[in-house]
Amino acid sequence: MIRHLSPRLQTLFVLIGVALLFGIASPHFLATDNLLNVMQQSAINAILGIGLTFVIISGGIDLSVGSILALCGLVVADQLVAGHSGAVAIGAGLLVGGVCGLANGLITTLGRIPPFITTLGMMLIARSAAKIYSGSKPISGLPESFRALSGSVAGVPVLVLIVAVLYVLAHLVLTRTKLGRYSYAIGGNEQAAWLSGVRVGRYKVAIYTLSGLMAGVAAVLMTSRLNAASPLSGEMYELYAIAAAVIGGVSLMGGEGGVLGTLVGALIMGTLRNGLNALNVPSALEGMVVGGVLVAAVVFDRARHRAAEAEKLRGWTRYRKLVLAGIGAAVVMAAAFGIRATFNAPTQAKTFTIAFVPKALNSPFWAEMQQAAEREAAAQGVRLVSLAADRETDVERQYQIIENLIQQKVDAILLAPAGSKELVPAIRKANDAGIPVLILDTRIDQGAAESMGARVLTFIGSDNFEGGAVAGRYLADKLGGKGNVAIIEGISGHETADRRRLGFLNGIEAHPGIRVVASQTADWERARAYTVAENLLQAHPDLDAIFAANDEMALGALEAVAAARRLGHVGVVGFDAIPDALANIGSGRLLGSVAQFPGEMGRLGLRHAVALLRDGTTPPREILTRVEMIDRLNVGSFAKRGMKAPPSRGNP
């Protein structure tokens, strides 16, 4: 037993060390509420980690759990919306997860295909199935009763209780059943296990089915937590779960590790993310820290293996261990105080702290919004905290960031929601904590907000419909009222994407000579847009113009047009007027782009938040910032105006 425990104990010490570090560095971290928060935020990863632990111990890998999670979540939400009972919905979700896992197992064993390939395929298939099933739109409007799963019992979140029960069960299965024992045997030496009569194929199928089932469980809980399901949820989660298992001492070579280690690994990852938020460490640094810990864990583990062999030769290891532990503790303390001094300088009394949470911080659009908010905060004498997920689609992560901000007791939150429905429960939590929420850029779904009793103070954002219409009218005019156009859409189901597309259609309505020959999504991404445009150009030799719902996609499409040598014949219009687009308009390659004023959103958001906090002034329900068509004629003057965007409607 000791032998089994010792590696886990070491990761447990790492967890405690990290927690102490954050506890010293930030006053909020060690609060009971926040610790429960960390556990809750680690829950989804921990549950996926159970399946991955079994799979990896048996010498396999499962890359499909993130996608299966998305698919199962949609099934659950869909069943609930269709009026079925919670039990039926949950059953359906688990069934779909189990069947996906079963397929992984059967294909891997019967087809003798490496699990990396099988589950990579399933990852793509399940993701695609999720998009088809949902029409690429999030499903929300779930009954209130379903939220009970993400509530609390006697102050302990249900989610945490469920994880605890699952882990106890998983640990028992792994250590006390044939399934568990054979998992180790297969991973330890598949040949030997088979020659010893272990029905390797059957057990592998069972193991992959279990992994799929765990993705189903995670999906049920995540759907309850977000009160919605999205076809984009769970991206990269398979890799996070693998990371949790590896940090917890599960060897990718198979045959080693245990679920308790994985639990600790998941908690370490959750602690790091939560703690870094609490310290207001820039989000971009997060990957570096978590990645560093992952690699360090493996390096450490290897070293431990070698040391265990060398140990027999030396008598002074116990002493050496103590010295090392001492040095380690000293380093942790020093780091803690260093971080505290760097990121958490004591604030002056009576200043407000306002949080800014964009969808991500990965494009000039968000950067400009953030910089403007920063400048305004400096001018107003308040403190601004900016935190964002790595990817615009990681709704669960944004949800966690808001939870963490509530723990920090910020005074107001400026939020650009990554999902118009999925963030509603988080907003409700902020409401309950008395923190006002101002929405930027993307609207919150009215119905979802009302059904959960979530309130937002205002919406500040571009009139995307008008922006689309401006682009439509401009193109129609340029083409002389006659021609074939294609639309490259944003992520379908996104409010912004839909409004821009509808606006564009409205703009060309007055010109019956303009024909829309195709309308396809490229998920806001430049590379995807390149491929989509390539295919469009191939399929429609008579294409005259392309409207892309953002500049990233417009620039991708533009390169495809250039590669097809149809520059000058096919005009491209984008949206957002990012610097790269402006440069291409200046050089005459890009026809035009609809300018938004993200800086204005950031500035106005901050100004209204401060006005509310200082004087109790309530902002208008909706503040629409301007849109403007930028083309070759006015690009010069627009660039000169730069950040000093002119005031727009609704300015207080």
């Binding site: 037993m1 089994h4 059943t177 399934l179 045997a185 030496n189 020659l195 029905r199």
Partner: protein, 499 residues
């Protein structure tokens, strides 16, 4: 040939591996331009001696002189730089690369950092022409026959300007006409003054190609003969000519009814139809040289490989659904020859390794009774006198003999009616060997039928009630205990059916 100075001289070579003295004062002289055959039983030390010559191992003691210079190659690369090249039985080619690319692998002619494929192709073509091989140098090696691949290896050796070539059983996988062609090539090499050391078990080969033959036994060189002046009987005498020093006590056991009956078991290209039977309490020894199909026979009986035909009956019931799980359920057990790769989960605990085949006995509805499991394992550890600190110890930390006992414990726990042992005493020390003999004796005493594959002659003759001898995938003959002498076994193993 006499009067010529040897180009290679190996003297007093000793090499010890953990638990076994592989070479003891071994030596070898090779004359310029001769084909020198190296002959000996499995484990006689032929390969070890050649690996020392070619830098894969270093000798504990002894002297190697090549072309008048004392050498001590520390790596194959160093040996190759001196012109000592070994062609292994498993060829060392990259299947996906072309013939030319393989010939020049690691030594590509370049011009300004770029590979000159034309020069490479031309070079390969020239070398192959010398070997009278008309393979297109652009063909991927994977598309070649084994014989052609061998020629590519030889071309490789020529490219390195080999001054001595070692070939390890090059004829094992070739047809008669291919062998003839290979011998032509070897002759022409020797004509150019490159001596060839030729490891082979095939008497036909020895007399067809060899100039001289050196016989090894138990890590020693026992004699060198001119091929012209020797005959098969003398060579066999040299190979086996030991008196069996360690007498293994043969238990008197009542032999019962037939438990394992194999009829016409066949695998295309691997096993010619084999029929045999083993009775309760009987030990059937299986002899044969390396690659004679002994392990393949055991795997086919056990269902680890799918046979193309034939039946296996255990206690009268014909086995269907051939796989290890079904075989174990029917009462068959198989102790594999490679315990590290096919026997043990080295990173897992000793306890887990012992109970792997018999978890069903301690499980109800898939849930294990850990205490019962532990008691069982402890009982077996005691019975087999396995030396360990704790059942939770990682198996990798045990000695070879104790590891082997863990494997045996696993199969004892499974309570099989028939046990197939494949080289159960390979690489373990003498004391552990004796314990394993004891155990096998105990098992047959309890009525278990044993099939014992072994290369150790004393083990074979001491334990077996009957000896089945395999040669090139076929059962060459079955000898009763009375007629099973070292000479008879070796004759059959060398393919001399009647002499």
């Amino acid at each position: 040939m006499t009067g010529m100075e040897p180009i290679l001289r190996m003297r007093g070579i000793c090499k010890r591996f953990p638990g076994v003295q592989a070479l003891q004062d071994a030596g070898l002289d090779v004359l310029p331009g001769e084909v020198h055959v190296l002959l000996g039983e499995n484990g006689a030390g032929k390969s070890t001696l050649m690996k020392i010559l070619c830098g894969q191992y270093t000798a504990d003691s002894g002297v190697v002189t090549f072309a008048g210079e004392a050498i001590r190659p520390a790596s194959p690369l160093e040996a190759e730089s001196r012109g000592l090249v070994m062609i292994h039985q498993e060829l060392n080619l990259v299947p996906g690369l072309s013939v030319a690319e393989n010939v020049f692998l690691g030594h590509e002619p370049t011009h300004g950092g770029l590979i000159r494929s034309d020069a490479m192709r031309q070079g390969a073509q020239n070398l192959l022409a010398k070997l009278r091989c008309d393979v297109d140098p652009d063909t991927p090696v994977a598309d070649l026959s084994v014989a052609e691949q061998q020629l590519v290896e030889i071309a490789c050796a020529l490219r390195q300007r080999a001054r001595l070539l070692v070939m390890d059983e090059p004829t094992a996988a070739l047809s008669d006409s291919e062998i003839e062609a290979l011998f032509d090539v070897i002759h022409s090499l020797c004509g150019d003054g490159v001596p060839v050391i030729f490891i082979s078990h095939r008497m036909k080969d020895i007399f067809a190609i060899g100039d001289r033959v050196t016989v090894m036994r138990d890590g020693r060189t026992v004699g060198t003969r001119d091929v012209k002046h020797t005959e098969v009987a003398e060579l066999i005498q040299l190979m086996v000519g030991r008196t069996i020093a360690e007498q293994i006590p043969k238990r008197e056991v009542r032999i019962g009814e037939v438990v394992l009956q194999v009829e016409g078991l066949v695998r295309a290209g691997v096993l010619s139809p084999v029929s045999l039977s083993v009775r309760s309490g009987e030990i059937l020894g299986v002899a044969g040289l390396m690659g004679s199909g002994r392990t393949e026979l055991a795997r086919a009986i056990f269902g680890a490989d799918v046979a193309d035909g034939g039946t296996v009956r255990v206690t009268g019931r014909t086995m269907s659904g051939r796989n290890p799980g079904a075989s174990i359920a029917a009462g068959l057990g198989f102790i594999t020859e490679d315990r590290k790769r096919q026997g043990l989960m080295l990173q897992r605990s000793v306890g887990e390794n012992i109970t792997l085949t018999s978890l069903d006995d301690v499980a109800r509805f898939g849930v294990l009774d850990l205490r019962a499991e532990r008691e069982r394992a402890e009982g077996l550890v005691e019975r087999l006198k396995i030396h360990l600190a704790s059942l939770d110890q990682e198996t990798v930390s045990l000695s070879g003999g104790n590891q082997q006992k863990v494997v045996l414990a696993r199969w004892l726990a499974a309570r099989c009616r028939v046990l197939l042992f494949d080289e159960p005493t390979r690489g373990i020390d003498v004391a552990a060997k004796a314990e394993i003999y004891e155990l096998i004796g105990e098992l047959v005493g309890q009525g278990v039928a044993v099939v014992l594959i072994t290369s150790e002659m004393p083990e074979l003759l001491g334990l077996a009630d009957r000896v089945a001898v395999m040669h090139e995938g076929a059962l060459q003959g079955v000898l009763d205990r009375a007629e099973a002498t070292q000479e008879r076994v070796m004759q059959l193993a060398l393919g001399e059916s009647r002499s």
